[in-house]
């Protein structure tokens, strides 16, 4: 196992831990905004994962995914946040 492999392993472990921690907050909440923040965090982590995969596999196929996922994650989170805001206004 060369150092690069160690690096990958460490990376995956850290990212995996990050995902699990995010998951914890996602499920615990307590507020809607917490979840929303976590949603975004998960999507960024997913993109990060894919970026690591790109490096690991040396594969072009996933590069498109990096940008697209980033874009879509952004749009999704933003829409949801806007919704949350409107909701607040509705109630107010």
């Amino acid at each position: 196992m060369n150092p690069l492999d160690y690096a990958y392993t460490v990376t995956f472990v850290l990212l995996g831990a990050a995902v699990l921690l995010t998951l914890y907050r996602l499920v615990r909440g307590p507020s809607v905004m917490d979840r929303l923040v976590c949603l975004n965090a998960v999507s960024v982590l997913l993109v990060t994962f894919i970026a690591v995969e790109v490096a690991l596999r040396g594969d072009h196929a996933y590069i498109g995914l990096v940008i697209t996922f980033a874009l879509l994650g952004f749009i999704g989170s933003l829409t949801a946040a806007r919704f949350a805001e409107r909701r607040a206004h509705d109630r107010g």
Binding site: N2, P3, L4, Y6, A7, Y8, V10, T11, F12, V13, L14, L15, A17, A18, V19, L21, T22, Y24, R25, S31, V32, M33, D34, L36, V37, C38, N40, A41, V44, L45, V47, T48, A51, V52, V54, A55, L56, G58, H60, I63, G64, V66, I67, A70, L71, F74, S77, L78, A81, R82, A84, E85, R87, A88, H89
Partner: protein, 121 residues
Amino acid sequence: MTAGDIATAVLLPLGAAFAFTGTVGLVRFPTLLGRVHAATKPDTVALVLVLAGAAFQLPDPRVAAWLGLAALFQFLTAPVLAQTFGRVAYSRGEISTGHLITDELADAVERSREDDDGDGG
């Protein structure tokens, strides 16, 4: 083990470490705004570092351009989201004001409300 590999071997774990600490903050910070900080910023750093690390594994200018584009995109979107989250969280009243040293926005809101009342009255 080339220089590129070394760069990758440094950047990837570093990025992952940022992501990890960010999510630790996400879990442990007591305030919502604190968690917003922890969730949005270190992730961006992490992603950019990882993208840089990946670029060293695919020494192809086109690939590098793509990855650079992704990083740029992240730079553009992350603040927008962070700001939106912050604003929405504040507007929903979900931030815990007890942890704030000062809240000048609340003062401003208070002032503008008084103005409105004055106009109306």
